[in-house]
Structures are given as C-alpha cells and as structure tokens.
C-alpha cells in the first residue's frame, strides 16, 4: 500500500512472486520515509517479480465520486479495492466479504456503499485490465464429511479443557494471569461459568499456578495458562506439583524471548526450559500442538496424561497457532475418549504415596473423604507412607520412581508416523506449530519426485518409542525449528548422532519455501558427492 510496506515485506516474496502495489503510496514523502533513493516502481529493481502497480486512490476516487465523501474517507476504502483485485487474482467469491461488510457497516449506509463499491471495483479492474493476464484457481480442500468451524489455537485450548473435564467427570479450575499471547484462553474460560468452570485471575503468575495446585489437591482438573516469562515464574511451583504428584495442565504459548523479547511473535524456544528448567531432577510429560485446531486434541492429551499419571504436564503452543485459525472438524463428546479417574475412598487400601503397579501413579485422595486425612508437601516423601524422609536411599528411590513414571509413558503414546519413503537419504523431523509449513514444502517436493520422508513429533517427553528405529533408517536428518536447535540438542543427546538444523529465530513463522530451499540444498550436496 506504500513504499515502506514494500520495503518491509519484500523479503517474504519469492522471485517470480506476485506483488500488487498501490502506486499512490510512492510519492516523494513516502519514498523518503522508507529510505528509497529512487522509486522502486520506476527502476528495474522489481523486474524479477510479477508487478501489478495500480493508482488505487485515483481508482476509488473515480468510482466513488458521486458519494461526495471527503478525500480521507475515499482514500480509506482503497484497502477494499486491493482486496477485490486479490480476489480476482485467486478466483475467490466476493460474497462472504460483502456479507461481512453488511454486518459491520450496515447501519452506516455511506460507509457500507463506499467499501462495497471499492471491493467490486477492484475485482472489475483486474478482470478488465490488460495488465492482469493470469488468474489462479485454488481447488476446494478435500475434507472429511462433517461440521466445521474456524478456530484459533487459544480457543481450541479452552474448549479442550472444558471437554477434558467433562470426559474426566471432574470440575475444571483455571488459575491464570494475563500475558500475551496466551490471554485469550483466560478470556474464554472466564466466560464458561455456564459450564461449571471456576477461575481465578490471580495477582501474579505464581499465584495462578499455586491456586491451580490447590484446586488439584481438592479434586479438580486444574490448569494454568501462560507464556514464556510466566513459565519462568511458575518454575518452582511446577517442581512442587511434581513432588506432590498432583495432576495439572500447564499451557505455555511460546513467544520470542529472552526476557520480554518480542511478545507478539512466535518462537519454539521454550522446549529446553519445559524439559529441564527446574531445580533438582524433575521430569514431566511435554506435548505440543501442530496447528490451531490440534490445540484441542493436545489439550485433551495433556489432561489424559496428567490425570492418569498424577503429574503436571506442559502443553507447548506458540503465538502463531494460538492466534491463527484453521478449519476444525467439530467433534462430538462421544468421539472423545473417556478420561475418568477414581478418587480413593477406602482407608484400608490407602497410603499417600502407594503407587499403581503399572502407571506408578500415586493415589488421589481428596479432602472430604473420611478417614483419608494425610499430609503432603514439598519435602522429600517416604515411599508409600508419604512421611517426610531424609533417608538417602529413599531419596534415590523416589527420584527414580518419579523419572520411571514419566519415562514409562512411552508405552501409552502413539508411535511416530513416517510420511514418504520408509527409509533413505533424508528425513525431516518437525515439532509443534511448524507442521503446516513443513507439510507444504514436503508435499511440493514429493510431488516433484524428490525422495524424502517426514516425521512430526507431538510428544516431546517422552519421545515416541519407535523414533530410534526410524532414525536408523535414514542417512541424514533435518530438524527445522524456530530456535537455535533445541530439539536437535535433545535428539543428539539421546541418540548420539548428528542432525542438521534449520534454525530460524526472527520471531516470524517458518515458511514452506525456506524448508524447500534447505532440502534442495541438501539434496544437491548429496548429488555432487
């Protein structure tokens, strides 16, 4: 729309890509503000792109002349003109936007008319102009039968928590403190009293998780939601929840750090903190959602693990999928697995740290249960009795119990699935919110006949049990991440081999072409040898 936005966004366009430009935003003042010495529309600096330059202000002024609007108001509708052009370019219907304009500006007839006409004019202009030689058709996605809605990752987490509580037959409690980009989860859940949800907007991040621990002790499905700086503040409390062996869902919507960092920008840089960021040896399960709608599934998975294994679980989302949307096939409650757990009520069988022989989960005895009064706390507990114990051998035993309990979850999570070749030269391993970009690149390259394979991880601790076997079948492994190589470090330590990183730490989401370029580079290296 002007020279500055061209300068900022040019890096996002591949060579040969389409740039639609509003040339009225390239006056002397615009050029000076954007630090252009000469007009990029008038030299050959953009010759490698498909450039469509249109004086959009002039076009809308002509189109809306009879409405007698101020120049400012007319100029404001140029965005809708640009949208109309874009809709023609990609053969999209104007109807949903027309409907939206009616809803938005229906009671301001003049504004509504101006926007509606600007939108239509853009579409008509592209249709008639000789500049536009090519129209792109995007075929309908092949989706399963069913009801769909668009959903953001944060909304999906909120719905996932309510659903998990229902399937666990437990009430839900959220203890939280507002933080970008996780706050919407608090917004949604605070409005769900109709569904029995209790929440506390606490005085700080620590009180957020501490109150959730209190609710877990009381027999609730308890959760806390936050982003990086908040996770830092919750660290001691997570350690307590591990010691108490109480179920707790911790949702961390990752943003670019360190410190305040780039609060609105995504990153995958809290993986090592989720994994190791506590004093003492304090393992917990970590799961990650791969898209906005997958936040629903992984929230339920986090709740399942928390309740079954009596442990805090960290769900990693990120600012990109938390605030972005994708179509979500709406499940019915009957499709969701049963998560019900039992409170122990029989004093004959109860001991605070007696464990289930299979899961190693301790018993959950909640206040109000006659005869099961007991004491738990952050001091090391004696095996079975839960009494405070400073016995050296007991400490080692309890450390090992807590570690084994989490490690054994490997038997209760799905195997990793390899897309593409069963074995071969190059495997891509992704995790979390980069799934969409990697999948796009992967499918394009496979479509071009490239031999390639792809595994996307949603369980980060423990890792899927078959991952070691998969790795053995590939000569090289590429790990794209929005960090400096955190999953890479974890896998290198576990499997004692080298991995190739594709590490982007710009605060921007990963793009398909960046993965494509890297894969092509790796494939051509192999070709040369």
């Amino acid at each position: 729309m002007n020279a500055s936005s061209l300068k900022v966004n040019l890096a996002n366009v591949r060579e040969g890509g389409i740039i639609v430009v509003n040339s009225s935003g390239f006056g002397a003042k615009n050029l000076r503000l954007a630090n252009y010495d000469e007009n990029p529309l008038e030299n050959d600096s953009l010759s490698n792109y498909q450039l469509y330059d249109i004086d959009m202000v002039k076009r809308v002024s002509e189109e809306l002349a009879d409405l007698n609007l101020s120049h400012k108001a007319v100029s404001r509708s140029k965005n809708l003109f640009a949208l109309g052009v874009t809709y023609w370019l990609f053969d999209r219907s104007l109807e949903p936007t027309k409907k939206w304009l009616k809803e938005k500006f229906g009671n301001k007839e003049l504004v509504y008319q101006a926007n509606l006409r600007a939108l239509t004019a853009g579409w008509e202009y592209a249709l008639k102009s000789v500049k536009f030689k090519r129209q792109y058709k995007i075929h309908k996605a092949k989706l399963e039968k069913g009801a769909y809605r668009n959903i953001t990752g944060n909304h999906a987490v909120a719905l996932g928590l309510v659903t998990a509580a229902k399937k666990a037959d437990l009430p839900l409690f959220l203890g939280s403190y507002p933080i970008t980009p996780a706050t919407e989860i608090l917004h949604y859940l605070s409005g769900y009293k109709k569904y029995g949800v209790k929440h506390l907007q606490a005085e700080d991040e620590i009180a957020g998780i501490s109150s959730a621990i209190g609710a877990a002790f009381s027999g609730y499905l308890a959760c806390t939601t936050t982003s990086g700086p908040g996770l830092s503040l919750k660290v001691e409390s997570i350690g307590l929840a591990i010691m108490l062996e109480l179920p707790l869902v911790i949702v961390n919507v990752q943003r670019a750090g360190p410190s305040t960092g780039l609060p609105t920008k995504p990153e995958q840089s809290d993986l090592l903190m989720a994994m190791y960021g506590r004093h003492g040896e304090a393992p917990l399960p970590i799961v990650a959602a791969d898209s906005a709608s997958d936040c629903f599934n992984m929230t339920i998975e986090a709740a399942r693990l928390a309740l079954k294994y009596m442990t805090p679980v960290i769900l990693l989302s990120d600012g990109y999928i938390a605030q972005g949307t994708n179509p979500w096939k709406i499940p019915s409650l009957d499709d969701i697995p049963d998560l019900s757990t039992n409170f122990v009520t029989d004093p004959e069988i109860f001991a605070p740290y007696k464990r289930d022989p299979v899961t190693l989960a301790r018993m959950w005895a909640v206040p109000g249960t006659e005869g099961l009064e007991h004491r738990i706390g952050g001091l090391e507990k004696e095996d079975i009795t839960g009494l405070v114990s400073h016995d050296p051998m007991n400490h080692q035993k309890m450390i090992e119990y807590r570690a084994t309990k989490i490690a054994n979850i490997v038997n209760d999570i799905p195997h990793a699935r390899v897309e593409g070749e069963f074995s071969g030269d190059l495997l891509i391993i992704g995790w979390g919110g980069t799934y969409g970009a990697i999948t796009d690149a992967f499918e394009k390259l496979r479509g071009e006949g490239k031999k390639l394979s792809y595994v996307h991880l949603k369980h980060l601790n423990p890792l899927p049990g078959n991952l070691g076997h998969i790795l053995k079948r590939f000569k090289r492994v590429l790990i794209p991440e929005l960090n400096s190589g955190q999953l890479k470090m974890m896998l290198q330590a576990k499997f004692l081999r080298e991995f190739i990183g594709l590490n982007k730490i710009t605060g921007l989401p990963l793009k398909a072409f960046e993965i494509e370029d890297k894969v092509l580079e790796l494939l051509s290296e192999r070709g040369k040898k």
Binding site: L143, K166, A207, S210, L240, V366, P367, E373, V388
Partner: protein, 348 residues
C-alpha cells in the same frame, strides 16, 4: 455441573461426631525448639477444633516454608506444605474450588510479610474465606537468624550485625490496609485469649487474619516480653473488648481519643472517669486503623484482641453464586453446543 467429586462433597460424616484434641494430633514428633512459642499455638488450635462442629475430613491446613510452616505436619487433617510465601495462593485455589472445606493457614512474618506479601494483600482484598494464623517472631528462624520485615530497627542479627536499618511492617495495619475484614492479634503466652481469637476467626465468614506474637527462644528471645509476660502484659498492653472501654493496668488506666489520637489517661488522678474512655467497636474500620497505629507509638500500650470484624460476601461464595446463576441459562452444561458454536458449516 455435577461430577463425581460431588459424591465426596455431599457424603455425610459417618464416624463418631465426638472428637477431642487428640484426634487432631498427627503421629509425628513436634520438631520445634524447646520453649518455642509455636507449641502454645499448636495446642490451642488442636483444642478448639473439636468444638467447631466441622468433620475432620473437611478441614485443610496449608503452609509455606519456615518454622511456623511446619505446623500442618503436626495436624491430622488434610494438609499441604507448599512453597515459601505461597500458602495463601494455594489455599485460595482450595477454597474457591471447594467452599465446603474449612481452610486454615499457618505462616510466619517472613513467609507472609516478605516473600508472600503480594499474596497476603490480594487474598485479603479479594476476601477469600480462609483463616490465617501468622506467627510473628520478628526474625527468620528456620534459616538461623536473619532480620525479617517485622524486625525492629537497630536489631542485631546475623544479616544485620550493625543493626537493622529497615523500618518494619506492622502486620495488623498492613492487613487492615489491604482490606482484610477480620483482623486480630494474640499473644503466645495468653492461651485463653488466643483460643477465643481462633474461634472468632473461624466464625467469621471471610478472610480472617490473626497475628500471634510468638517467642523465638533461640534467635530473638524475649522480643515480646514487654507485652506478653504476665505482669508486663497488664501494664503495657490493652485488650480490645467489643462494646467495652479500653482499660489496662488493672483498670487504673485507660485510652481516650484526643481528636484522632489515642492518649493514655489515669482513672485515679480525678481528672478522668471511665465514661471518658474510648469504647471499642469491631465494626468501625476507622477506629481499627487508629488502634492499629498505636503499635507505632511505644508510649502507648500495645492493643491485642479483635481490631476489626466486618462481614462482606466472600470471593468464593460470589463465584459459587455466579455459577448457580449461569447454570440456569439456556444451553448451560451443553458441551456439544459449545463445541459447535454459532458459525459452522457442513461438508456433506
């Protein structure tokens, strides 16, 4: 929304209704130093619990870290020993999620006034219905003798070898300022009054804060002798008795208000009678502030008893009321409808 937790919440008590202090004693040796003020607090709490008519399984004690925070381990009820400073935050989660429980906190001046100060002021203003017993010994004792936020200026401790430079909090003034509706002060050596104040804290519907002057025999011995030792107590402290004039020194002296300023008057010099004295009113929050500020004036006797007791709806009760109200609305508890939302489309 009904869940299987309701079965536990609603289950009536089936065991004996009669309990004694012994029933609340955990089978664990108390590990405080001989002579610690904590023993008196523990035994008075154990003594009042049988009289409160609350089934044992409905009582929860929560603590943070410190000498005082070991307290819950000695109680045979539902107990959580948590993190330094965080007892109030954990307890808020317990009480908001389970208003059917009687929730108590044992804390100290370091745990509650320093690292947990934020939780104190917010839990007080929010008025969560929990009972806080704060052992004030004006010292960090578990870490072996550093000054605390209530230590007096000039006190020589391991971390203030040349004397404390900080000005202290007065816990009562802080609690009142933060909006705590029930605020009281007890002395570890005055067990009868202490028991009375714990019972009052329990009766009060809302956030209740009881400061207990607690002697630390090892690191700050005698810090409160001036007020709490028999003999000194009569002379240097004044008991706040609702509806009664502020009398001390065996009825020979009293407190009268000179404007907003409390002053000591003699009832023996012929210049004042009992009718001139300030009459205590627990429901008057202006008066509560005036009385709490007496602690900053060393020429005045130290007040103890109930400074303030006012009733306003507790946070946990308000949450419960909102939930009940919302559950009457159309679509309440219909999770399938929530998942579907208003804006969906079908692919056939």
């Amino acid at each position: 929304m009904n869940t299987h937790l309701d079965v536990i919440i609603q289950k009536p008590h089936t065991g004996s209704a009669e309990t004694t202090a012994k029933d609340f004693k955990a089978p664990i040796d108390v590990r405080w130093c001989a002579g610690c003020g904590g023993f008196a607090i523990l035994s008075q709490v154990q003594k009042i619990l049988p009289d409160l008519d609350i089934p044992k399984e409905k009582i929860v004690f929560i603590s943070g870290i410190g000498c005082s925070s070991r307290f819950p381990y000695y109680m045979d009820v539902y107990v959580m020993h948590t993190m330094h400073g965080r007892a109030l935050a954990v307890a808020s989660g317990v009480k908001i999620s389970r208003p059917d429980l009687s929730v108590w906190i044992a804390t100290g001046d370091g745990d509650c006034m320093s690292i947990g100060g934020n939780h104190l002021i917010h839990t007080a203003r929010r008025n969560v219905n929990i009972n806080v017993i704060m052992f004030n010994n004006e010292i960090y004792s578990l870490t072996k003798g550093q000054y605390s936020p209530t230590s007096r200026p000039g006190l020589k401790t391991k971390s203030s070898p040349l004397g404390v430079l900080d000005d202290p909090f007065d816990p009562i003034t802080l609690a009142l300022g933060a909006g705590a509706p029930f605020v009281a002060r007890a002395y570890d050596r005055d067990i009868k009054t202490m028991r009375f104040l714990f019972e009052r804290a329990n009766q009060h519907n809302g956030f209740s804060f009881v400061e207990v002057y607690t002697n630390c025999v090892i690191f700050n011995d005698g810090a409160f002798d001036e007020y709490t030792l028999k003999g000194n107590r009569e002379e240097n402290s004044v008991f706040l008795d609702h509806g009664k004039p502020l009398l001390f020194s065996n009825g020979t002296k009293g407190i009268k208000l000179d404007g907003f300023k409390p002053v000591v008057v003699s009832l023996e010099d012929g210049n004042h009678s009992i009718d001139d004295l300030l009459v205590h009113d627990e429901t008057d929050s202006t008066l509560a502030f005036i009385l709490s500020n007496m602690s900053f004036n060393l020429d005045l006797p130290r007040p103890h008893g109930v400074f303030q007791s006012i009733e306003r709806p507790s946070y946990d009760a308000k949450v419960e009321a909102q939930i009940i109200e919302e559950s009457k609305k159309p679509g309440a508890n219909d999770i399938d409808a929530l998942l579907k939302g208003d804006d969906y489309w079908e692919i056939g």
